[in-house]
Symmetry: C2
Subunit: 128 residues, 2 copies
DNA sequence: TTTACTAATGCAACATAATCGCGTTAATAT
DNA sequence: ATATTAACGCGATTATGTTGCATTAGTAAA
């Protein structure tokens, strides 16, 4: 199943790259230049994840957030998991550079890590 | 608002303690001895969280899981965040002893950490 | 034990997130 | 220009979690 380039994909990708943050479907739908159907946005985002272009974060609100992050890629093309930070004040979700480090009991095999810190970000702390 | 003891609370608590795992509302509803309404289960679970008895984990499936974990309590009564592990094969979510360690850029204030690793657990790895 | 107060419950309605089926549209290669 | 089929929009559907409200039942005081 070869991918095709479409206006929807380009617009979503551009928005994600431009915003530098993790965005939810509804944020994308409201910020995107062109009109794109909800289901399509999800399909586009999931295809990005499948292709390793974007990654998905599930926040404690149960919602999915997607982001493009070039720093995620390790030299040997392996994804390095890093912490994400969700600001309770402004809602922003950003990728921190802090890598996720963990050890698991022997016999356990880790395939994915979803690590989210919540609190107040720098901007919201200094502005209050 | 003082808490009252009720059959629903006792049953949910007993189940959580017995199972030693993080359970979702629907798992609790199906495993619990007595019939308890869905909304009540959520209210009970949230009250446990407020009282510091249980903690809530949001998995990458967007669902909330609740668990009792005595090891969570630090000597000075402060909650220590630890990793959780979700097995993609058997669905079990368990608390790992691995503490969550992170550093955040200056100006950031962390209030909560939700860290979940997914993969295959020991049992599922050895049985395959 | 009886009474009063109100936390807790069940039920139904509601809100939201995400997925899916299906007929149609349009990107790509020939 | 044509054929193929990935991608799309739309509507329906599923699932999770919350909320309002009338009723029930803990708990403490009389």
């Amino acid at each position: 199943m070869k991918r095709r380039n479409t206006p929807a994909k380009e617009a979503v990708l551009e928005l994600l790259v431009k915003s530098q943050k993790a965005l939810s479907q509804d944020a994308i739908e409201s910020q995107i230049e062109i009109a794109v159907n909800r289901a399509t946005i999800y399909r586009v985002l999931n295809s990005f994840c499948e292709d390793g272009i974007a990654h998905k974060i599930v926040a404690e609100d149960g919602k999915q957030y997607f982001s493009i992050c070039k720093k995620c890629k390790h030299p040997e093309e392996k994804l390095i998991y890093h912490y994400h930070f969700r600001c309770l004040s402004c809602g922003t979700i950003e990728c921190l550079k802090t890598p996720v480090q963990y050890t698991v009991p022997s016999g356990y095999q880790v395939e994915h890590a979803n690590c989210l810190l919540t609190g107040t970000c720098k901007d919201c702390n200094t502005n209050s």
